[in-house]
Symmetry: C2
Subunit: 315 residues, 2 copies
Protein backbone atom coordinates (compact mmCIF):
# COMPACT_ATOMS: atom_id res chain seq x y z
CA UNK A 1 0.00 0.00 0.00
CA UNK A 2 1.29 3.44 -0.92
CA UNK A 3 0.06 6.48 0.97
CA UNK A 4 0.70 9.79 -0.72
CA UNK A 5 1.24 12.61 1.74
CA UNK A 6 1.36 16.33 1.04
CA UNK A 7 4.21 17.61 3.23
CA UNK A 8 3.59 21.27 2.28
CA UNK A 9 0.16 21.54 3.91
CA UNK A 10 -0.88 22.72 7.36
CA UNK A 11 0.16 25.49 9.71
CA UNK A 12 3.46 23.85 10.68
CA UNK A 13 4.63 22.62 7.28
CA UNK A 14 7.03 21.27 6.29
CA UNK A 15 8.53 20.48 9.75
CA UNK A 16 5.53 18.84 11.42
CA UNK A 17 4.36 16.81 8.40
CA UNK A 18 7.83 15.40 7.78
CA UNK A 19 8.50 14.66 11.44
CA UNK A 20 5.12 12.94 11.65
CA UNK A 21 5.79 10.94 8.49
CA UNK A 22 9.11 9.79 9.97
CA UNK A 23 7.36 8.66 13.15
CA UNK A 24 4.69 6.83 11.17
CA UNK A 25 7.30 5.13 8.98
CA UNK A 26 9.06 3.87 12.08
CA UNK A 27 5.91 2.05 13.18
CA UNK A 28 4.95 0.88 9.73
CA UNK A 29 8.35 -0.55 8.77
CA UNK A 30 7.15 -4.12 9.24
CA UNK A 31 4.00 -3.53 7.21
CA UNK A 32 3.51 -3.27 3.47
CA UNK A 33 2.81 0.45 3.78
CA UNK A 34 5.13 2.97 2.21
CA UNK A 35 4.72 6.70 2.45
CA UNK A 36 5.20 8.87 -0.62
CA UNK A 37 6.23 12.41 0.30
CA UNK A 38 4.82 15.01 -2.08
CA UNK A 39 6.27 18.52 -2.06
CA UNK A 40 9.30 20.59 -2.89
CA UNK A 41 12.16 18.10 -3.21
CA UNK A 42 14.85 20.43 -1.87
CA UNK A 43 12.75 21.29 1.16
CA UNK A 44 11.99 17.64 1.83
CA UNK A 45 15.66 16.66 1.54
CA UNK A 46 16.71 19.43 3.90
CA UNK A 47 14.10 18.37 6.47
CA UNK A 48 15.04 14.70 6.21
CA UNK A 49 18.69 15.60 6.72
CA UNK A 50 17.80 17.66 9.79
CA UNK A 51 16.17 14.50 11.13
CA UNK A 52 19.21 12.36 10.22
CA UNK A 53 17.17 10.37 7.74
CA UNK A 54 18.32 9.23 4.36
CA UNK A 55 16.26 10.37 1.40
CA UNK A 56 16.36 6.76 0.21
CA UNK A 57 13.95 5.84 3.00
CA UNK A 58 11.09 7.59 1.24
CA UNK A 59 9.74 7.87 -2.24
CA UNK A 60 9.61 11.58 -3.01
CA UNK A 61 7.49 13.21 -5.69
CA UNK A 62 8.57 16.72 -6.52
CA UNK A 63 5.86 19.38 -6.47
CA UNK A 64 7.48 22.80 -6.31
CA UNK A 65 4.32 24.85 -5.83
CA UNK A 66 1.79 24.97 -3.03
CA UNK A 67 -1.76 26.10 -2.37
CA UNK A 68 -1.91 28.40 0.64
CA UNK A 69 -4.41 28.04 3.47
CA UNK A 70 -6.14 31.28 2.49
CA UNK A 71 -6.36 30.72 -1.26
CA UNK A 72 -9.66 30.27 -3.09
CA UNK A 73 -9.79 26.46 -3.29
CA UNK A 74 -11.23 25.75 -6.74
CA UNK A 75 -9.35 28.61 -8.43
CA UNK A 76 -6.05 27.63 -6.85
CA UNK A 77 -6.65 24.02 -7.80
CA UNK A 78 -7.00 24.96 -11.47
CA UNK A 79 -4.20 27.53 -11.50
CA UNK A 80 -1.50 25.55 -9.71
CA UNK A 81 -0.93 22.24 -11.51
CA UNK A 82 2.46 21.85 -9.82
CA UNK A 83 1.21 22.31 -6.30
CA UNK A 84 1.56 19.43 -3.89
CA UNK A 85 -2.21 18.98 -3.63
CA UNK A 86 -2.82 18.87 -7.40
CA UNK A 87 0.17 16.56 -7.93
CA UNK A 88 -1.13 14.30 -5.17
CA UNK A 89 -4.54 14.01 -6.78
CA UNK A 90 -2.87 13.24 -10.10
CA UNK A 91 -0.97 10.34 -8.53
CA UNK A 92 -4.14 9.05 -6.90
CA UNK A 93 -6.09 9.29 -10.13
CA UNK A 94 -3.39 7.28 -11.91
CA UNK A 95 -3.45 4.75 -9.04
CA UNK A 96 0.24 5.35 -8.34
CA UNK A 97 -0.82 5.80 -4.73
CA UNK A 98 -3.70 4.15 -2.84
CA UNK A 99 -4.58 7.18 -0.77
CA UNK A 100 -3.80 10.86 -0.64
CA UNK A 101 -3.75 12.91 2.54
CA UNK A 102 -2.98 16.49 3.41
CA UNK A 103 -3.20 18.93 6.30
CA UNK A 104 -3.52 21.74 3.78
CA UNK A 105 -6.35 23.80 2.32
CA UNK A 106 -9.50 21.75 2.95
CA UNK A 107 -11.42 23.43 0.15
CA UNK A 108 -8.71 22.49 -2.34
CA UNK A 109 -8.84 18.90 -1.06
CA UNK A 110 -12.62 18.92 -1.62
CA UNK A 111 -12.12 20.40 -5.08
CA UNK A 112 -9.67 17.62 -5.95
CA UNK A 113 -12.01 14.96 -4.58
CA UNK A 114 -14.88 16.26 -6.70
CA UNK A 115 -13.01 17.28 -9.86
CA UNK A 116 -10.35 14.58 -10.11
CA UNK A 117 -11.53 11.58 -8.08
CA UNK A 118 -15.29 12.14 -8.38
CA UNK A 119 -18.12 10.70 -6.35
CA UNK A 120 -19.05 7.03 -6.51
CA UNK A 121 -21.71 6.39 -9.17
CA UNK A 122 -25.10 6.97 -7.57
CA UNK A 123 -23.79 8.86 -4.54
CA UNK A 124 -25.51 12.25 -4.50
CA UNK A 125 -23.11 14.05 -2.17
CA UNK A 126 -19.85 13.15 -0.45
CA UNK A 127 -19.56 13.89 3.24
CA UNK A 128 -17.16 13.82 6.16
CA UNK A 129 -17.61 12.28 9.58
CA UNK A 130 -16.16 12.64 13.01
CA UNK A 131 -15.83 10.11 15.82
CA UNK A 132 -17.90 10.16 19.01
CA UNK A 133 -16.06 8.37 21.83
CA UNK A 134 -18.21 6.29 24.16
CA UNK A 135 -17.37 5.43 27.76
CA UNK A 136 -17.28 1.70 27.03
CA UNK A 137 -14.20 2.25 24.85
CA UNK A 138 -15.96 1.90 21.50
CA UNK A 139 -16.51 4.65 18.98
CA UNK A 140 -19.59 6.15 17.38
CA UNK A 141 -19.54 8.42 14.35
CA UNK A 142 -21.56 11.39 13.15
CA UNK A 143 -21.95 12.51 9.56
CA UNK A 144 -22.03 14.92 7.80
CA UNK A 145 -19.96 17.38 9.81
CA UNK A 146 -19.26 20.10 7.34
CA UNK A 147 -19.52 19.61 3.62
CA UNK A 148 -23.27 19.83 3.06
CA UNK A 149 -24.99 22.67 4.89
CA UNK A 150 -28.42 21.87 3.44
CA UNK A 151 -29.28 18.20 2.93
CA UNK A 152 -32.34 16.73 1.29
CA UNK A 153 -33.79 13.51 2.78
CA UNK A 154 -32.34 11.29 0.03
CA UNK A 155 -28.86 12.66 0.78
CA UNK A 156 -29.29 11.95 4.50
CA UNK A 157 -30.56 8.49 3.62
CA UNK A 158 -27.33 7.78 1.74
CA UNK A 159 -25.33 9.02 4.73
CA UNK A 160 -27.03 6.15 6.58
CA UNK A 161 -25.53 3.69 4.09
CA UNK A 162 -22.12 5.33 4.08
CA UNK A 163 -21.93 5.71 7.86
CA UNK A 164 -23.03 2.16 8.41
CA UNK A 165 -20.22 0.82 6.20
CA UNK A 166 -17.71 3.12 7.85
CA UNK A 167 -18.71 2.00 11.33
CA UNK A 168 -18.57 -1.67 10.40
CA UNK A 169 -15.33 -1.75 8.45
CA UNK A 170 -13.29 0.94 10.19
CA UNK A 171 -14.56 0.53 13.75
CA UNK A 172 -15.46 -3.13 13.50
CA UNK A 173 -19.06 -2.81 14.69
CA UNK A 174 -21.33 -5.44 13.12
CA UNK A 175 -24.74 -4.23 11.96
CA UNK A 176 -24.24 -0.78 13.53
CA UNK A 177 -27.30 1.04 14.83
CA UNK A 178 -28.08 4.13 12.76
CA UNK A 179 -29.97 7.01 14.39
CA UNK A 180 -31.32 10.21 12.90
CA UNK A 181 -30.16 13.15 15.04
CA UNK A 182 -33.28 15.01 16.07
CA UNK A 183 -34.84 17.16 18.79
CA UNK A 184 -37.00 14.35 20.13
CA UNK A 185 -37.51 10.61 19.76
CA UNK A 186 -40.99 10.47 18.29
CA UNK A 187 -41.29 10.01 14.51
CA UNK A 188 -43.16 13.28 14.07
CA UNK A 189 -40.44 15.31 15.81
CA UNK A 190 -38.00 17.66 14.11
CA UNK A 191 -37.79 20.03 11.22
CA UNK A 192 -39.38 19.25 7.86
CA UNK A 193 -36.22 17.59 6.52
CA UNK A 194 -35.86 15.34 9.58
CA UNK A 195 -39.52 14.33 9.41
CA UNK A 196 -39.26 13.40 5.74
CA UNK A 197 -35.96 11.59 6.33
CA UNK A 198 -37.51 9.52 9.09
CA UNK A 199 -40.22 8.38 6.65
CA UNK A 200 -37.56 7.44 4.12
CA UNK A 201 -35.45 5.52 6.63
CA UNK A 202 -38.06 3.83 8.80
CA UNK A 203 -38.47 0.58 6.82
CA UNK A 204 -35.06 0.45 5.17
CA UNK A 205 -33.17 -2.80 4.67
CA UNK A 206 -29.99 -0.90 3.67
CA UNK A 207 -28.96 -0.26 7.27
CA UNK A 208 -30.07 -0.85 10.82
CA UNK A 209 -32.22 2.23 11.43
CA UNK A 210 -33.25 2.61 15.06
CA UNK A 211 -35.19 5.88 14.78
CA UNK A 212 -34.57 9.36 16.08
CA UNK A 213 -31.78 10.06 18.55
CA UNK A 214 -31.05 13.23 20.52
CA UNK A 215 -28.14 15.39 21.53
CA UNK A 216 -27.80 13.60 24.86
CA UNK A 217 -27.42 10.27 23.04
CA UNK A 218 -24.35 11.39 21.09
CA UNK A 219 -21.76 9.78 23.37
CA UNK A 220 -23.80 6.71 24.29
CA UNK A 221 -24.29 3.27 22.76
CA UNK A 222 -27.83 4.13 21.71
CA UNK A 223 -26.51 4.35 18.15
CA UNK A 224 -23.19 3.83 16.41
CA UNK A 225 -23.96 6.13 13.51
CA UNK A 226 -25.59 9.54 13.95
CA UNK A 227 -27.02 11.08 10.78
CA UNK A 228 -27.40 14.82 10.36
CA UNK A 229 -26.74 17.62 7.89
CA UNK A 230 -23.33 19.27 7.73
CA UNK A 231 -24.61 22.41 9.44
CA UNK A 232 -25.79 20.74 12.63
CA UNK A 233 -22.98 18.17 12.51
CA UNK A 234 -20.34 20.86 12.29
CA UNK A 235 -21.74 22.60 15.36
CA UNK A 236 -21.82 19.28 17.27
CA UNK A 237 -18.19 18.63 16.30
CA UNK A 238 -16.96 22.07 17.32
CA UNK A 239 -18.94 22.04 20.55
CA UNK A 240 -17.18 18.78 21.47
CA UNK A 241 -13.82 20.37 20.60
CA UNK A 242 -14.70 23.34 22.81
CA UNK A 243 -15.48 21.07 25.76
CA UNK A 244 -12.15 19.28 25.31
CA UNK A 245 -10.30 22.60 25.27
CA UNK A 246 -12.11 23.81 28.40
CA UNK A 247 -11.30 20.55 30.23
CA UNK A 248 -7.64 20.92 29.31
CA UNK A 249 -7.55 24.57 30.32
CA UNK A 250 -9.02 23.62 33.69
CA UNK A 251 -6.50 20.85 34.25
CA UNK A 252 -9.14 18.11 34.18
CA UNK A 253 -7.40 15.04 32.81
CA UNK A 254 -9.46 11.99 32.02
CA UNK A 255 -8.89 8.98 29.77
CA UNK A 256 -12.36 9.22 28.28
CA UNK A 257 -12.22 12.89 27.40
CA UNK A 258 -8.67 12.51 26.08
CA UNK A 259 -10.28 10.57 23.24
CA UNK A 260 -11.86 13.85 22.09
CA UNK A 261 -8.37 15.02 21.11
CA UNK A 262 -8.11 15.12 17.31
CA UNK A 263 -4.40 14.36 17.57
CA UNK A 264 -5.33 10.73 18.23
CA UNK A 265 -6.86 10.42 14.75
CA UNK A 266 -5.24 13.20 12.78
CA UNK A 267 -7.90 13.44 10.13
CA UNK A 268 -10.92 12.04 8.42
CA UNK A 269 -11.71 10.62 4.96
CA UNK A 270 -13.95 12.27 2.40
CA UNK A 271 -16.68 9.64 2.18
CA UNK A 272 -18.63 8.76 -0.95
CA UNK A 273 -15.83 9.31 -3.45
CA UNK A 274 -14.08 6.70 -5.59
CA UNK A 275 -10.79 6.58 -3.69
CA UNK A 276 -9.25 7.38 -0.32
CA UNK A 277 -8.70 11.06 0.35
CA UNK A 278 -7.92 12.15 3.90
CA UNK A 279 -8.30 15.63 5.32
CA UNK A 280 -5.96 16.38 8.21
CA UNK A 281 -6.29 19.15 10.75
CA UNK A 282 -4.45 22.34 9.74
CA UNK A 283 -2.93 22.67 13.20
CA UNK A 284 -1.50 19.15 13.19
CA UNK A 285 1.66 18.50 15.15
CA UNK A 286 3.87 15.44 14.36
CA UNK A 287 1.73 13.15 16.56
CA UNK A 288 -1.42 14.15 14.71
CA UNK A 289 0.35 13.60 11.38
CA UNK A 290 1.55 10.18 12.44
CA UNK A 291 -1.99 9.21 13.47
CA UNK A 292 -3.41 10.64 10.24
CA UNK A 293 -1.18 8.21 8.36
CA UNK A 294 -2.25 5.30 10.59
CA UNK A 295 -5.93 6.21 10.10
CA UNK A 296 -5.33 6.39 6.36
CA UNK A 297 -4.00 2.85 6.36
CA UNK A 298 -7.13 1.63 8.19
CA UNK A 299 -9.42 3.45 5.79
CA UNK A 300 -7.66 2.00 2.73
CA UNK A 301 -7.89 -1.48 4.25
CA UNK A 302 -11.61 -1.00 4.89
CA UNK A 303 -12.21 -0.67 1.12
CA UNK A 304 -14.95 1.85 1.76
CA UNK A 305 -15.41 3.07 -1.81
CA UNK A 306 -15.88 -0.44 -3.14
CA UNK A 307 -18.32 -1.40 -0.40
CA UNK A 308 -20.34 1.82 -0.70
CA UNK A 309 -20.47 1.31 -4.46
CA UNK A 310 -21.89 -2.19 -3.98
CA UNK A 311 -24.71 -1.09 -1.70
CA UNK A 312 -25.59 1.97 -3.78
CA UNK A 313 -25.68 -0.09 -6.97
CA UNK A 314 -28.11 -2.58 -5.40
CA UNK A 315 -30.42 0.31 -4.56
CA UNK B 1 -45.04 40.16 43.27
CA UNK B 2 -47.12 37.00 43.18
CA UNK B 3 -45.67 33.88 41.57
CA UNK B 4 -48.19 31.18 40.73
CA UNK B 5 -46.73 27.70 40.97
CA UNK B 6 -48.27 24.43 39.78
CA UNK B 7 -47.45 21.94 42.51
CA UNK B 8 -48.96 18.99 40.63
CA UNK B 9 -46.42 19.05 37.76
CA UNK B 10 -43.20 17.11 37.30
CA UNK B 11 -42.01 13.59 37.98
CA UNK B 12 -41.77 14.08 41.75
CA UNK B 13 -44.99 15.98 42.40
CA UNK B 14 -46.37 16.95 44.78
CA UNK B 15 -43.47 16.29 47.23
CA UNK B 16 -40.61 17.98 45.38
CA UNK B 17 -42.57 21.05 44.17
CA UNK B 18 -43.92 21.74 47.65
CA UNK B 19 -40.59 21.18 49.40
CA UNK B 20 -38.92 23.46 46.85
CA UNK B 21 -41.59 26.12 47.32
CA UNK B 22 -41.03 26.00 51.08
CA UNK B 23 -37.28 26.45 50.60
CA UNK B 24 -37.84 29.34 48.23
CA UNK B 25 -40.29 31.01 50.60
CA UNK B 26 -37.72 30.82 53.39
CA UNK B 27 -35.27 32.85 51.31
CA UNK B 28 -37.86 35.23 49.94
CA UNK B 29 -39.53 36.10 53.26
CA UNK B 30 -37.88 39.52 53.38
CA UNK B 31 -38.87 40.31 49.80
CA UNK B 32 -42.22 41.36 48.37
CA UNK B 33 -42.58 37.97 46.65
CA UNK B 34 -45.34 35.60 47.64
CA UNK B 35 -45.85 32.16 46.16
CA UNK B 36 -49.34 31.00 45.20
CA UNK B 37 -49.62 27.20 45.28
CA UNK B 38 -51.94 25.84 42.60
CA UNK B 39 -53.19 22.26 42.86
CA UNK B 40 -55.41 19.92 44.83
CA UNK B 41 -56.04 21.71 48.14
CA UNK B 42 -56.21 18.52 50.21
CA UNK B 43 -52.95 17.26 48.75
CA UNK B 44 -51.25 20.60 49.36
CA UNK B 45 -52.44 20.79 52.95
CA UNK B 46 -51.27 17.25 53.67
CA UNK B 47 -47.82 18.03 52.20
CA UNK B 48 -47.51 21.29 54.14
CA UNK B 49 -48.41 19.47 57.35
CA UNK B 50 -45.81 16.84 56.64
CA UNK B 51 -43.31 19.68 56.44
CA UNK B 52 -44.63 21.27 59.63
CA UNK B 53 -45.78 24.34 57.78
CA UNK B 54 -49.00 26.19 58.38
CA UNK B 55 -51.33 26.50 55.42
CA UNK B 56 -51.61 30.18 56.31
CA UNK B 57 -48.07 30.72 55.06
CA UNK B 58 -49.17 30.28 51.46
CA UNK B 59 -52.01 31.39 49.30
CA UNK B 60 -53.56 28.23 47.85
CA UNK B 61 -55.72 28.03 44.73
CA UNK B 62 -57.64 24.80 44.45
CA UNK B 63 -57.30 22.91 41.14
CA UNK B 64 -58.49 19.32 41.62
CA UNK B 65 -57.48 18.01 38.20
CA UNK B 66 -54.11 17.62 36.53
CA UNK B 67 -52.62 17.18 33.07
CA UNK B 68 -50.35 14.15 32.93
CA UNK B 69 -46.85 14.18 31.43
CA UNK B 70 -47.94 11.88 28.60
CA UNK B 71 -51.19 13.60 27.63
CA UNK B 72 -51.72 15.35 24.31
CA UNK B 73 -50.98 18.94 25.33
CA UNK B 74 -53.54 20.99 23.37
CA UNK B 75 -56.36 18.48 23.82
CA UNK B 76 -55.74 18.11 27.53
CA UNK B 77 -55.60 21.88 27.88
CA UNK B 78 -59.07 22.25 26.37
CA UNK B 79 -60.60 19.24 28.17
CA UNK B 80 -59.34 19.89 31.68
CA UNK B 81 -60.41 23.37 32.77
CA UNK B 82 -59.86 22.45 36.43
CA UNK B 83 -56.33 21.21 35.99
CA UNK B 84 -53.55 23.06 37.80
CA UNK B 85 -52.02 24.25 34.51
CA UNK B 86 -55.26 25.64 33.08
CA UNK B 87 -56.18 27.26 36.40
CA UNK B 88 -52.69 28.80 36.57
CA UNK B 89 -53.02 30.34 33.14
CA UNK B 90 -56.45 31.70 34.10
CA UNK B 91 -54.95 33.46 37.12
CA UNK B 92 -52.13 34.87 35.00
CA UNK B 93 -54.54 36.10 32.33
CA UNK B 94 -56.59 37.87 35.02
CA UNK B 95 -53.37 39.35 36.43
CA UNK B 96 -54.04 37.74 39.81
CA UNK B 97 -50.47 36.46 39.59
CA UNK B 98 -47.43 38.06 37.91
CA UNK B 99 -45.92 34.80 36.65
CA UNK B 100 -46.91 31.18 36.28
CA UNK B 101 -44.46 28.31 36.49
CA UNK B 102 -44.75 24.55 36.30
CA UNK B 103 -42.56 21.43 36.06
CA UNK B 104 -45.43 19.71 34.28
CA UNK B 105 -46.33 18.91 30.67
CA UNK B 106 -44.26 21.31 28.56
CA UNK B 107 -46.61 21.07 25.60
CA UNK B 108 -49.54 22.08 27.78
CA UNK B 109 -47.50 25.03 29.06
CA UNK B 110 -46.82 26.04 25.46
CA UNK B 111 -50.51 25.63 24.62
CA UNK B 112 -51.45 27.91 27.50
CA UNK B 113 -48.83 30.47 26.50
CA UNK B 114 -50.16 30.58 22.94
CA UNK B 115 -53.91 30.18 23.58
CA UNK B 116 -54.37 32.15 26.79
CA UNK B 117 -51.44 34.56 27.13
CA UNK B 118 -50.63 35.00 23.42
CA UNK B 119 -47.53 36.37 21.76
CA UNK B 120 -46.53 40.00 21.98
CA UNK B 121 -47.99 42.03 19.09
CA UNK B 122 -45.57 41.76 16.20
CA UNK B 123 -43.63 38.77 17.53
CA UNK B 124 -43.84 36.01 14.93
CA UNK B 125 -42.88 33.06 17.15
CA UNK B 126 -42.13 32.66 20.84
CA UNK B 127 -38.99 30.75 21.80
CA UNK B 128 -37.05 29.37 24.74
CA UNK B 129 -33.43 29.83 25.62
CA UNK B 130 -30.83 28.16 27.70
CA UNK B 131 -27.76 29.53 29.43
CA UNK B 132 -24.18 28.98 28.31
CA UNK B 133 -21.77 29.34 31.23
CA UNK B 134 -18.46 31.02 30.43
CA UNK B 135 -15.23 30.52 32.34
CA UNK B 136 -15.07 34.17 33.41
CA UNK B 137 -18.18 33.65 35.54
CA UNK B 138 -20.63 35.40 33.21
CA UNK B 139 -23.39 33.77 31.25
CA UNK B 140 -24.21 33.57 27.56
CA UNK B 141 -27.54 32.39 26.18
CA UNK B 142 -28.67 30.49 23.13
CA UNK B 143 -32.11 30.64 21.56
CA UNK B 144 -34.27 28.96 20.31
CA UNK B 145 -33.63 25.61 21.95
CA UNK B 146 -36.72 23.68 21.14
CA UNK B 147 -39.98 25.35 20.16
CA UNK B 148 -39.32 26.15 16.51
CA UNK B 149 -37.72 23.36 14.48
CA UNK B 150 -37.77 25.33 11.23
CA UNK B 151 -37.14 29.06 11.44
CA UNK B 152 -37.34 31.64 8.68
CA UNK B 153 -34.78 34.46 8.71
CA UNK B 154 -37.27 37.03 10.04
CA UNK B 155 -38.00 34.75 13.00
CA UNK B 156 -34.27 34.36 13.74
CA UNK B 157 -33.89 38.12 13.42
CA UNK B 158 -36.49 38.62 16.14
CA UNK B 159 -34.66 36.10 18.33
CA UNK B 160 -31.77 38.56 18.11
CA UNK B 161 -33.96 41.28 19.62
CA UNK B 162 -35.45 38.99 22.26
CA UNK B 163 -32.12 37.43 23.23
CA UNK B 164 -30.45 40.80 23.45
CA UNK B 165 -33.07 42.08 25.90
CA UNK B 166 -32.89 38.86 27.92
CA UNK B 167 -29.11 39.06 28.17
CA UNK B 168 -29.17 42.70 29.21
CA UNK B 169 -31.98 42.66 31.76
CA UNK B 170 -31.65 39.17 33.23
CA UNK B 171 -27.87 38.73 33.04
CA UNK B 172 -26.99 42.41 33.25
CA UNK B 173 -24.81 42.55 30.15
CA UNK B 174 -24.90 45.98 28.49
CA UNK B 175 -25.17 45.98 24.72
CA UNK B 176 -24.69 42.20 24.47
CA UNK B 177 -22.92 40.82 21.42
CA UNK B 178 -25.29 38.79 19.25
CA UNK B 179 -23.84 36.05 17.03
CA UNK B 180 -25.51 33.86 14.44
CA UNK B 181 -24.59 30.22 15.13
CA UNK B 182 -23.07 28.88 11.94
CA UNK B 183 -20.55 26.42 10.52
CA UNK B 184 -17.99 29.08 9.69
CA UNK B 185 -17.31 32.76 10.30
CA UNK B 186 -17.51 34.14 6.79
CA UNK B 187 -20.80 35.80 5.73
CA UNK B 188 -21.36 33.32 2.90
CA UNK B 189 -21.08 30.30 5.19
CA UNK B 190 -23.94 28.10 6.28
CA UNK B 191 -27.24 26.76 5.08
CA UNK B 192 -29.61 28.89 3.04
CA UNK B 193 -31.49 30.11 6.12
CA UNK B 194 -28.28 31.16 7.89
CA UNK B 195 -27.03 32.98 4.79
CA UNK B 196 -30.29 34.90 4.44
CA UNK B 197 -30.38 35.64 8.16
CA UNK B 198 -26.87 37.06 8.03
CA UNK B 199 -27.99 39.48 5.31
CA UNK B 200 -30.96 40.54 7.42
CA UNK B 201 -28.89 41.05 10.56
CA UNK B 202 -25.69 42.54 9.20
CA UNK B 203 -26.62 46.23 9.35
CA UNK B 204 -29.20 46.10 12.10
CA UNK B 205 -29.53 48.82 14.72
CA UNK B 206 -31.89 46.67 16.82
CA UNK B 207 -29.07 44.72 18.44
CA UNK B 208 -25.29 44.44 18.48
CA UNK B 209 -24.76 41.89 15.71
CA UNK B 210 -21.17 40.63 15.54
CA UNK B 211 -21.57 38.16 12.67
CA UNK B 212 -21.36 34.38 12.49
CA UNK B 213 -20.14 32.35 15.43
CA UNK B 214 -19.29 28.65 15.62
CA UNK B 215 -19.79 25.68 17.89
CA UNK B 216 -16.43 26.23 19.55
CA UNK B 217 -17.46 29.78 20.49
CA UNK B 218 -20.50 28.66 22.50
CA UNK B 219 -18.85 28.86 25.92
CA UNK B 220 -16.67 31.87 25.20
CA UNK B 221 -17.11 35.60 25.45
CA UNK B 222 -17.14 35.96 21.67
CA UNK B 223 -20.88 36.55 21.94
CA UNK B 224 -23.41 36.81 24.74
CA UNK B 225 -26.38 35.77 22.61
CA UNK B 226 -26.22 32.84 20.16
CA UNK B 227 -29.03 32.72 17.62
CA UNK B 228 -30.17 29.48 16.02
CA UNK B 229 -33.27 27.50 15.16
CA UNK B 230 -34.91 25.24 17.75
CA UNK B 231 -33.63 22.10 16.03
CA UNK B 232 -29.94 22.94 16.24
CA UNK B 233 -30.36 24.71 19.59
CA UNK B 234 -32.02 21.68 21.12
CA UNK B 235 -29.13 19.47 20.06
CA UNK B 236 -26.59 21.97 21.47
CA UNK B 237 -28.50 22.04 24.77
CA UNK B 238 -28.76 18.26 25.09
CA UNK B 239 -25.13 17.74 24.08
CA UNK B 240 -24.10 20.07 26.91
CA UNK B 241 -26.35 18.12 29.29
CA UNK B 242 -24.71 14.89 28.11
CA UNK B 243 -21.23 16.24 28.82
CA UNK B 244 -22.30 17.28 32.31
CA UNK B 245 -23.68 13.80 33.01
CA UNK B 246 -20.50 12.14 31.72
CA UNK B 247 -18.33 14.40 33.90
CA UNK B 248 -20.43 13.51 36.92
CA UNK B 249 -20.35 9.81 36.15
CA UNK B 250 -16.56 9.99 35.90
CA UNK B 251 -16.24 11.80 39.22
CA UNK B 252 -14.84 14.94 37.61
CA UNK B 253 -15.95 17.81 39.80
CA UNK B 254 -15.33 21.35 38.66
CA UNK B 255 -16.87 24.70 39.55
CA UNK B 256 -17.20 25.73 35.95
CA UNK B 257 -18.89 22.57 34.72
CA UNK B 258 -21.16 22.52 37.79
CA UNK B 259 -22.80 25.57 36.21
CA UNK B 260 -24.11 23.25 33.46
CA UNK B 261 -26.41 21.68 36.09
CA UNK B 262 -30.00 22.71 35.38
CA UNK B 263 -30.78 22.49 39.10
CA UNK B 264 -29.03 25.83 39.52
CA UNK B 265 -31.66 27.54 37.36
CA UNK B 266 -34.63 25.21 37.51
CA UNK B 267 -36.28 26.45 34.36
CA UNK B 268 -36.58 28.94 31.57
CA UNK B 269 -39.17 31.47 30.43
CA UNK B 270 -41.18 31.24 27.25
CA UNK B 271 -39.91 34.37 25.49
CA UNK B 272 -41.97 36.59 23.21
CA UNK B 273 -45.30 36.22 25.01
CA UNK B 274 -47.22 38.90 26.90
CA UNK B 275 -46.51 37.69 30.43
CA UNK B 276 -44.07 35.56 32.43
CA UNK B 277 -44.49 31.80 31.95
CA UNK B 278 -41.72 29.53 33.21
CA UNK B 279 -41.08 25.96 32.12
CA UNK B 280 -39.33 23.85 34.75
CA UNK B 281 -37.54 20.56 34.23
CA UNK B 282 -39.80 17.51 34.71
CA UNK B 283 -37.17 15.81 36.85
CA UNK B 284 -36.80 18.74 39.23
CA UNK B 285 -35.87 18.04 42.82
CA UNK B 286 -36.59 20.59 45.60
CA UNK B 287 -33.36 22.51 44.86
CA UNK B 288 -34.30 22.88 41.20
CA UNK B 289 -37.81 24.00 42.19
CA UNK B 290 -36.42 26.59 44.60
CA UNK B 291 -34.14 27.96 41.89
CA UNK B 292 -36.98 27.96 39.37
CA UNK B 293 -38.87 30.28 41.70
CA UNK B 294 -35.80 32.52 42.15
CA UNK B 295 -35.28 32.65 38.38
CA UNK B 296 -38.96 33.49 37.94
CA UNK B 297 -38.56 36.47 40.26
CA UNK B 298 -35.61 37.74 38.19
CA UNK B 299 -37.50 37.32 34.95
CA UNK B 300 -40.55 39.21 36.28
CA UNK B 301 -38.29 42.04 37.51
CA UNK B 302 -36.63 42.22 34.08
CA UNK B 303 -39.97 43.22 32.50
CA UNK B 304 -39.07 41.31 29.36
CA UNK B 305 -42.51 41.40 27.70
CA UNK B 306 -42.77 45.15 28.01
CA UNK B 307 -39.23 45.73 26.72
CA UNK B 308 -39.61 43.33 23.81
CA UNK B 309 -42.91 44.98 22.92
CA UNK B 310 -41.21 48.38 22.80
CA UNK B 311 -38.45 47.30 20.43
CA UNK B 312 -40.79 45.30 18.17
CA UNK B 313 -43.22 48.25 17.91
CA UNK B 314 -40.41 50.60 16.84
CA UNK B 315 -39.55 48.18 14.02
Amino acid sequence: MKIGFDVMGGDFAPEAPIKGALEARESLLESDVSIVLIGDEAVIKAELEKNNTSIDDFEIVHAPDQIGMGEHPAKAFLKKPNSSIVVGFGLLKQKKIDAFCSNGNTGAMMAGAMLVIKTIDGVIRPCISTHLPRQNGTMGIILDVGINADCKPDVLYQFGIIGSIYSEFVYGIKNPKVGLLNMGEEPEKGNLVAQATYELMKDTKDFNFIGNVEGNDLFTEKAEVFITDGFTGNIVLKQAEAVYEILKSRGLNDDYFERYNYENYGGTPILGISSTVMIGHGKSNPTAVKNLLFTTKEVVEAKLAERIQNVITEN
